[in-house]
């Protein structure tokens, strides 16, 4: 059985600009794969090729085993696409919108009616189905926008930055939606430039930058891959060189720096190391007055790989 999504050396140029420069990745059926990268990394361009909006300059991809170039209609039939911006008819009602998009996916008659009812239920808008979309709040529009991609029960769903520019509550709602859909067996390709979202949702993460996938793996794999360690910052109630030298020889500590009464330790695992640091401090009669733990995250990984921050 082939993968749910398979991307093979995809390239896309816009004139001189090589927006996507040979991207490859794959997603197992039933997983959430995130494309994480800053604005302009080439995420949308990659997704546009997968969903049949743009023709690749080179390379191929397949959705549920159907090549996007050789069997585009089959590939599209297996795919639901949630565009970043709301793409609905404001002058049609929620139900009319879903009806139309259902027809575009080949549903008709009784089957269409039943499925529209189901989707209205899923997105929680059954009671507002007859109202025009133009009368909806931003969050409700987003739900219809997602609903329109679910009508044909796609095996794979692609969401392009679905949480950009919305309030925290709606964002929460959408993230929960993604988890639910995935729990029902849908494969999700999710693009974002928010590392928290990628961390929370994904089984695997592909980090993109400047048209390339620069790292791929699970969240933990990615963090281990770059060898970043947990950073612990402590303040002491007095200068104590003896404590520092004792800490330097503690197991699990790779580096201790001290600057202006602030001590920074790089450690493997803060849960194991932190008690030992406290122990050594009390042995020398020194008090730790504050502790700040910074676990490595995808932000650190990106910084490590590119020398730049993920967010500008």
């Amino acid at each position: 059985m082939s993968k749910a999504i398979e991307v093979n050396n995809l390239k896309k140029s816009f004139g001189e600009l090589q927006a996507v420069q040979g991207v490859s990745f794959s997603a197992e059926a039933g997983e959430v794969l995130s494309l994480l990268g800053p604005n302009g990394a080439g995420k949308s361009t990659t997704i546009s090729m997968l969903s049949g909006l743009l023709t690749p300059s080179e390379g191929d991809a397949s959705i549920m085993g159907h090549s996007i170039s050789r069997e585009p209609l089959l590939a599209k039939a297996a795919l639901g696409v949630v565009p970043q911006d709301i793409a609905l008819y404001p002058d049609l009602s929620a139900r009319e919108n879903l009806d139309f998009w259902g027809k575009m996916y080949g549903l008709r008659g009784g089957a269409l009616k039943i499925r529209v009812d189901e989707v209205l239920e899923i997105i929680g808008l059954s009671d507002r189905q007859k109202d025009k979309v133009s009368t909806f709040s931003g969050g409700m529009k987003r739900r219809v926008n997602i609903g329109a991609a679910l009508l044909h029960k796609p095996k794979v769903i692609i969401m392009d930055e679905p949480t950009v520019g919305i309030d925290p509550q709606s964002r929460r709602h959408i993230l929960e939606n993604v988890k639910q859909l995935n729990a029902q067996g849908m494969t999700v390709l999710y693009t974002t430039h928010y590392m928290e979202e990628a961390a929370e949702l994904s089984n695997h993460i592909a980090i993109m930058d400047m048209g390339k996938v620069i790292a791929y793996g699970t969240h933990d794999e990615l963090i281990r891959m770059v060898g970043e360690q947990t950073r612990i910052e402590v303040t002491l109630n007095m200068e104590a060189e003896k404590v520092l030298s004792s800490w330097r020889s503690t197991e699990g500590v790779s580096k201790i720096d001290s600057l202006d009464g602030k001590v920074t330790a790089l450690v493997d695992d803060s849960n194991r190391v932190l008690p030992r640091l406290f122990e050594a401090a009390s042995k020398h009669g020194v008090r730790i007055t504050s502790v700040d733990i910074q676990e490595p995250n995808l932000e650190t990984v990106f910084l490590h790989l590119t020398g730049r921050a993920l967010r500008d």
């Binding site: 909006l53 585009p72 209609l73 565009p83 911006d85 709301i86 002058d91 049609l92 575009m104």
Partner: protein, 422 residues
């Protein structure tokens, strides 16, 4: 199947667009109705206007170093003394306002037009408080209205002249030339001459003046002449708004592209050809429905006999092909829906005017000649023949021309769309 789904969705959206409904159905019917009632009042004869007595006080003097040869006041005055209006206007000069006022009070004249001494000077200087006074016998209604509108119409034309000069100079700048200041007066004068002649042609008969005036009044039985003319008047409206409706309906493709729904359609398992075809089909249906509704309304509301069924059908079909073809071509040139207003408003109005749509009942030579080169002109030819009761065989040539024009424009436009959205 999906072609019809897409077209049906577009039609539903159209029925929810007040603007489209207004433009497709309400505007042509209302405009025709206004003209109909204007004629109705003339034809019913209960308001004799055969002789409108106009008194003119023209104190206007041509300012020194003016770009004009003749003062505006003289232009206005001469309109009432012109041979072309002699059959229904009797004009006489009065020395001053008091004299004219007395004549109105004594009911020697029905209306007095008083042009102040500095009128040309102020008007050219763009002063908004300069004005022509019109005194009228309070017992009369239509006569003074006609006179007032003749004056307004002429002045609008002069204002239009200013705009023309601006447009000409902008165009020349675009083309890398500048408008010599010395050339401006002659341009203005040429424009005013042309416009005055145009107005005279309009006012040649009372019916034509009323056409411009369109004062609503109770209707009555129409004479056969006027009824035949109503057919042409409404045909002009029908054609103009058919092209406008087609272009506007075609705009939905740009709107969808801007709203993201076109792209979303492209992500569904639907051929791009099917999607474009669905959009085009919606425009075909809109235009043919609009035509049918207006023909039926014209028949029942205004007693218009559109012609033999076959001739009528060929005219309507020809109109549809040409409207849709031009719509596809026009919209394929437009980048965003914001550009649509000026392009449609300017382009279609200009084409319509040159094709004689607004003067359909007057058979003006120059427009007939121009009409040979425009789709609108050929649609008007078709309707003229059909309205004159010509058999189908006479309609074949215009129909074939329209069909060919439509196909050519459609193919060029559709290919441009294909390229843009592929």
């Amino acid at each position: 199947m999906k072609i019809f789904d897409i077209a049906f969705k577009d039609l539903i959206r159209s029925t929810r667009s007040l603007f489209l409904i207004g433009m497709a159905f309400a505007a042509p019917l209302l405009l025709t109705a206004l003209i109909y009632f204007a004629f109705g009042s003339i034809a019913s004869g209960d308001m004799s206007m055969a002789d409108i007595k106009v008194g003119v006080v023209n104190a206007d003097v041509l300012p020194a170093n003016s770009p004009l040869d003749v003062s505006l006041g003289e232009n206005i005055r001469s309109m009432f003394f012109d041979d072309s209006v002699r059959s229904w206007i009797t004009a006489s000069d009065y020395a001053d306002e008091a004299a004219a006022h007395g004549a109105v009070d004594a009911q020697e004249i029905g209306v007095a037009v008083i042009i102040p001494a500095t009128f040309t000077k102020d008007y050219l200087a763009g002063k908004t408080d300069t004005s022509i006074t019109i005194l009228q016998d309070p017992t009369l209604t239509i006569g003074p209205t006609v006179v007032r509108d003749m004056v307004a119409s002429l002045l609008d034309g002069v204002a239009g002249g200013g705009i023309t000069i601006k447009v000409v100079s902008e165009r020349m700048t675009v083309n890398g030339k500048t408008l010599e200041p010395a050339g401006i007066p002659s341009l203005i004068q040429r424009y005013i001459n042309w416009y005055t002649d145009f107005q005279r042609a309009l006012f040649h008969s009372l019916e034509n003046a009323a056409l411009v005036v369109t004062s609503p009044a109770p209707g009555g039985e129409l004479s056969n002449d006027i009824q035949a003319m109503m057919g042409l008047v409404m045909a002009g409206q029908l054609i103009f708004f058919s092209f406008y409706t087609g272009a506007y309906a075609m705009m939905s493709i740009l709107q969808e592209s801007e709203e993201g729904t076109l792209e979303r359609m492209f992500t569904t398992p639907t051929d791009r050809t099917t999607i474009l075809a669905g959009k085009f089909l919606a425009v075909f249906i809109t235009v043919i429905l609009q035509g049918a509704v207006l023909l039926i309304a014209g028949h029942y509301l205004f007693k218009i006999n559109w012609g033999e069924p076959g001739s009528l059908a060929l005219s309507l079909l020809g109109q549809m092909f040409a409207s849709v073809g031009l719509a596809v071509l026009l919209v394929s040139f437009i980048k965003t829906s914001k550009q649509a207003g000026p392009v449609f408003g300017g382009g279609l109005t200009m084409l319509g005017m040159l094709s004689g749509l607004f003067t359909a009942n007057m058979n003006i030579d120059i427009f007939n000649t121009m009409g040979n080169f425009t789709p609108q002109g050929w649609v008007l030819k078709a309707w003229r023949l059909s309205l004159a009761g010509q058999p189908v065989s006479e309609l074949i040539v215009p129909f074939v021309v329209l069909f060919a024009m439509g196909i050519v424009m459609f193919v060029i436009g559709a290919r441009m769309f294909g390229k843009r959205f592929a």
